[in-house]
Amino acid sequence: MNALAAGHHPGFLSPTGVEITFVLVGLATLGAAVLTVSTRQLVHAALWLVVALGGLAVEYLLLTAEFIAWVQVLIYVGSVVVLLLFGLMLTKAPIGRSPDADSGNRPVALGVAVAAAATLVWVVVDAFRTTWIDLHGVVQGSSRATGVSLFRHWVLPFEALSVLLLAALVGAIVLSRREEK
């Protein structure tokens, strides 16, 4: 997938295979995301989130960030969504539509989101109209490259992060413990 579209001049009108795939997966991802935030069935929202996150993993693969993609699958799909499902089930998520999945803030939210989307897309397109990513050559996100950068240049943040994780672990345990009375 990283040995594609070599040699010809890039242009909007001549999309490469990678670009087509990217756009298609992106559309699927976006659709799943929209469904995630709009479906009235709570568990379905979580399942659509799986699709969206999986789609993003594919997008990472397409961007040659292989390691990130598998991390995405492992952490998000394998753990985060499972936790979310846990949460939903423990808070009595019903089967079927919940009439009150959305709050009264919905119109405002829609307005803000659409305005923000319009602004961002406009700005981004305006800024990166003529920018191209070169996907050839050395793979950018191989485990070796990621590992080297992570443990050579980012060791200190990495260790700090481990402390953060430990703190979160302890915090979650303390919060969800039930007092034995």
Partner: protein
């Protein structure tokens, strides 16, 4: 074109393995259990020692009515077996059988891919449990999920130890870097990996979430017919995958006498041996309680895995 055919052939091979090996394991389980328990087991289907029993079972499953409970969430309910099964199929792609590219696809981060994708399987159980609209199912699903989350960690850590030792995440690379003394060196990690894998498969003695004497059949209570068969298939495919992975990671895969010629045979033999152990354990060990299950993961396996990593690191630094 040549490349495309090659890929297609490889995928076809994987599919065949996926369809055949779990059946073999299932049949073996029938017979081995029967012999261990001093009984005959199924003896009639197909004639010789009931070799076609599983085929007959498959036919039986296919014939049964596919019931979906009235209150269930139909879509999720029907999707769940596929979600449970698919990861194992994907994982098989990355497991090398023999040297020189005798593998579905040589992935750069193969080990990571395998573990990541296997983690997705838990979604199937959760979906099944929740969508069944049955308290036992939900409880079973939650137990499954909790168990899988808990045992994923020691499994990852044990695998990380091997990856450290080999200096690569690629599965063929790991096998390629294998020396005979790795097995004693990584013994603890191997045991942890294998045990955690058993727990992930919810095989006895870690079959708490599906223990019929407690919560009927856990998340799969409401399933019948072919969908139920798919769950069973997922379990046996899981055994194959687990044994294959353990072989590749800890037992040296195709390494053995005359590895150049019959290396793939060595891999299969070791896998089969491990599968036998899996069955053996099912017969010999009593079931753990739910709290013992969790405690075992957090207080035994994870420390052991961490100790293994430490050991690996020390040896690695000393020898390099």
């Amino acid at each position: 074109m040549n490349g495309t055919i090659d890929v297609l052939l490889r995928l076809l091979g994987v599919l065949v393995v996926f369809l055949v090996f779990p059946l073999l394991v299932g049949q073996t389980e029938h017979k081995v259990m029967a012999h261990m328990q001093g009984r005959l087991g199924p003896m009639y289907a197909g004639g010789f020692h009931g070799w076609a029993q599983l085929v007959a079972d498959g036919v039986k499953f296919a014939q049964k009515e596919d019931v979906v409970p009235a209150d269930a969430d139909r879509t999720v309910f029907q999707l769940a077996p596929a979600v449970a099964l698919l990861p194992y199929l994907l994982v098989l792609v990355a497991i090398p059988v023999g040297p020189h590219g005798f593998v579905g696809q040589n992935l750069d981060a193969g080990l990571f891919f395998v573990l990541a994708v296997m983690g997705v399987g838990v979604l199937g159980s959760l979906m099944a449990g929740w969508a069944s609209s049955n308290k036992y199912s939900l409880l079973g699903g939650l137990r499954t999920a909790a168990q899988l989350m808990a045992y994923e960690l020691p499994m990852l850590l044990a695998a990380a130890s091997v990856a450290m030792a080999a200096g690569t995440l690629s599965l063929p690379g790991i096998v390629g870097a294998y020396h005979w003394w790795w097995t004693p060196w990584q013994l603890v990690g191997g045991v942890v990996f294998f045990t955690a894998g058993l727990a992930e498969l919810q095989r006895p003695p870690f079959d708490m979430p599906v223990a019929d004497s407690e919560i009927i059949f856990g998340a799969y209570t409401e399933y019948t017919g072919l969908r139920f068969a798919l769950f069973l298939l997922a379990e046996y495919a899981g055994i194959v995958v687990l044994c294959g992975l353990t072989t590749v990671l800890f037992l040296g895969g195709w390494h053995g006498p005359w590895a150049g010629g019959v290396g793939w045979l060595w891999t299969l033999a070791k896998t089969a041996l491990l599968a036998f152990v899996v069955i053996w354990l099912r017969v010999s060990y009593p079931r753990l309680r739910e709290d013992q299950l969790q405690k075992f993961a957090w207080t035994v396996l994870i420390p052991l895995a961490l100790a293994q990593i430490a050991l690996t690191g020390v040896v690695k630094v000393v020898t390099s």
